[in-house]
């Protein structure tokens, strides 16, 4: 397990809130991120993750609470805060009228960077994003994964020490996701602070030193992935399927097996230290599940435990 590096916080949020007329998108969340840490916000769609990211990114005004990035309040020092950041938004917003390499150069100009720096830098970042042979291509011609990598390359043009990634791999196929994770991991290794939102537990487990579980604008739990699983779930989970008609009715007969029982519409989850042993008990009671599966607990289980709902609806 990676140990979070110590140091003064580069981001500090205290009772941060954002209310719209009809609902509270972010409702009093507090956290600190030290330099070099990889920090995640895990939660379902609409939990307030993106809104939090936009406030950290200095593009959205908070309703109340305190927020500093590198010791600066983004509401008073917007350009200064944004100059420190690299931002990968949830939806790509590349300029499709420009070629791949020009997208990087044009973006670098926003930071007042000279072309003498930007030209070689753009080539270097294309190499990093494995897009060198697409340098002269139109953005239209790129696959989803390539566009995502170009967006990440673009966010690095000013060599930010803090990178904000809002659902970096949502909508990508597994192979493209793995390539992206690899690139992000390299950035983390080179000391960049990563702040990322995701609703994929595997992404959170792969990339985050520490994370907060967010639901309805509030923090439900905080810790490293392993810590959260230890605290909020058992070591193993037994998944049983009895057919959609019977899952809930059979739950009553399963009482007492394992530490906790979670009947879902499509399956029943039994939380136990030893999944195989729990399965033997089920069989011993004369129950015959259609399928059974023993697996390690994941953040998905933590989320289910904390909110009673699953991450991806």
């Amino acid at each position: 397990m990676p140990t979070p590096p110590a140091g003064p916080p580069v981001i500090s949020a205290h009772q941060l809130s954002k209310h719209y007329a009809d609902f509270k998108a972010v409702d009093g969340i507090s956290f600190e991120v030290p330099a070099g840490e990889s920090f995640g916000l895990l939660g379902p769609n609409g939990a307030g993750k993106s809104t939090t990211m936009r406030m950290i990114g200095g593009v959205s005004q908070r309703t109340s609470g305190q927020l500093t990035i590198m010791g600066l309040d983004p509401q008073e020092h917007g350009p200064e805060v944004r100059a420190h950041l690299g931002v990968v938004p949830q939806q790509d917003n590349l300029d499709e009228e420009l070629r791949v390499r020009d997208n990087l150069i044009v973006y670098g100009r926003y930071f007042g960077l000279p072309l003498s720096y930007l030209r070689p830098k753009a080539d270097e970042l294309l190499e990093f994003a494995q897009l060198t042979d697409k340098a002269g291509a139109k953005v239209d011609a790129l696959s989803g994964g390539m566009k995502r990598r170009l967006t990440i390359a673009r966010s690095l043009i000013n060599e930010p020490k803090i990178l904000l990634l809002d659902e970096p791999t949502t909508g990508l196929d597994p192979q493209a996701r793995h390539i992206l994770w690899d690139r992000l991991f390299r950035l983390k290794e080179s000391g960049v602070t990563l702040i990322l939102t995701t609703h994929y537990m595997d992404e959170a487990e792969q990339l985050c030193d520490r994370l907060v579980v967010v639901d309805k604008g509030r923090i439900m739990a905080e810790g490293s992935p392993a810590q959260l699983i230890r605290e909020h779930s058992t070591r193993e989970v037994l998944e049983l399927r009895f057919g959609s008609e019977r899952n809930t009715t059979v739950a009553a007969e399963l009482q007492g097996i394992g530490e906790r029982l979670e009947p879902l519409p499509d399956r029943v989850l039994i939380y136990a230290h030893d999944g195989e042993a729990a399965l033997e008990q089920v069989i011993a009671r004369g129950l015959r599940p259609l399928t059974s599966l023993v697996r390690r607990s994941s953040l998905e289980d933590v989320f289910l435990r904390l909110t009673g709902r699953s991450l991806v609806d």
Partner: protein, 291 residues
């Protein structure tokens, strides 16, 4: 398309993404505060150059087409019968400044509508610079600057062609170029504020073209003096930036009578529209991007 996986030869490059050194964030912020509008204008101009041939063809083709159709074809009939109706100058000279100002109006109508929707909604182009040190106000300024450059270039080409046709006899004629650009902005900037406020495209821009641009083009004293229109239609000209720009242009290109006070009113009207439009647009952008 195949996604490449990492091999040994790439290792050096990928492990050192920060080999070069950018200047410090403080420097970025300071430069962006000072020159941010220009940086965004640079971007828009770069995008425009990706379809430069289309732009060039239309900025040369359109005037030539109009000048031939109206100024040569129609003018032979008009000049034979008009007498003093056009202030004693050829019909070509009469419509040339009006065509100049209409061209900027039409270009502004294109540049300040669909690209705005593209920025906020379709391809969300504005959200890239918005995450950088630039401010929403600078994004507006940059967009406007770039369009001003385009308007100036197009109008200049147009004017040269007009001059080649011999339709700008006065020495002050060239000053009709900035006047035409100003009238384009006086029309375009309020439109920009409106375009930025549209959340959902339900064909509003097509309506703007049909029921705003076209009537203004036809009834702003473009092809005949405004006072030949019945009184109840003249207001269209009075509120139209195109008419104010055209009247100034006529004074400049062939010396149509224009008292100083009236010239001042024309300029002031155009300036007020442009400034109010720009301020409105800036506040709409700031509100919408900062949501």
């Amino acid at each position: 398309m195949t996604e490449r996986t990492t091999d040994g030869s790439q290792e050096a490059a990928v492990l050192a993404p920060y080999r070069l050194h950018a200047h410090k964030p403080e420097v970025s912020a300071r430069r962006a505060r000072a020159f941010g509008s220009w940086y965004y204008a640079e971007h828009v101009l770069r995008s425009m150059t990706s379809y430069r041939w289309t732009l060039l063809a239309s900025s040369v083709g359109t005037p030539v087409m109009y000048l031939f159709a109206m100024g040569v074809g129609l003018a032979t009939l008009v000049d034979r019968n008009a007498g003093e109706a056009f202030g004693g100058v050829s019909y070509l000279a009469f419509i040339a400044p009006a065509l100049l100002a209409s061209a900027t109006m039409m270009t502004a109508a294109t540049e300040f509508t669909y690209p705005v929707m593209d920025g906020f909604k379709w391809r969300r182009v504005y959200y890239g610079p918005h995450a950088s040190p630039l401010t929403p106000g600078q994004i507006v300024n940059g967009h406007v600057l770039a369009v001003t450059v385009r308007l100036t270039a197009t109008t200049l080409v147009y004017f040269l062609i007009v001059a080649l046709f011999g339709a700008s006899p006065s020495a002050t004629g060239i000053a009709a170029v900035p006047v035409a650009v100003l009238s384009g902005l006086a029309f375009g900037l309020p439109l920009l504020a409106y375009a930025a406020s549209i959340e959902e495209d339900r064909g509003q821009f097509a309506l703007v073209m049909r029921f705003l641009v076209t009537p203004l083009f036809l009834f702003s004293g473009t092809f005949f003096p405004l006072d030949t229109l019945p009184v109840f239609l003249r207001w269209i000209g009075w509120i139209s930036p195109l008419w104010h720009g055209t009247e100034l242009g006529r004074a400049l290109t062939y010396g149509q009578d224009l008292p100083a006070w009236l010239a001042a009113v024309h300029v002031l009207y155009l300036l007020v529209l442009a400034v109010v439009g720009l301020r409105l647009a800036r506040s709409v952008y700031t509100r919408r991007l900062g949501k």
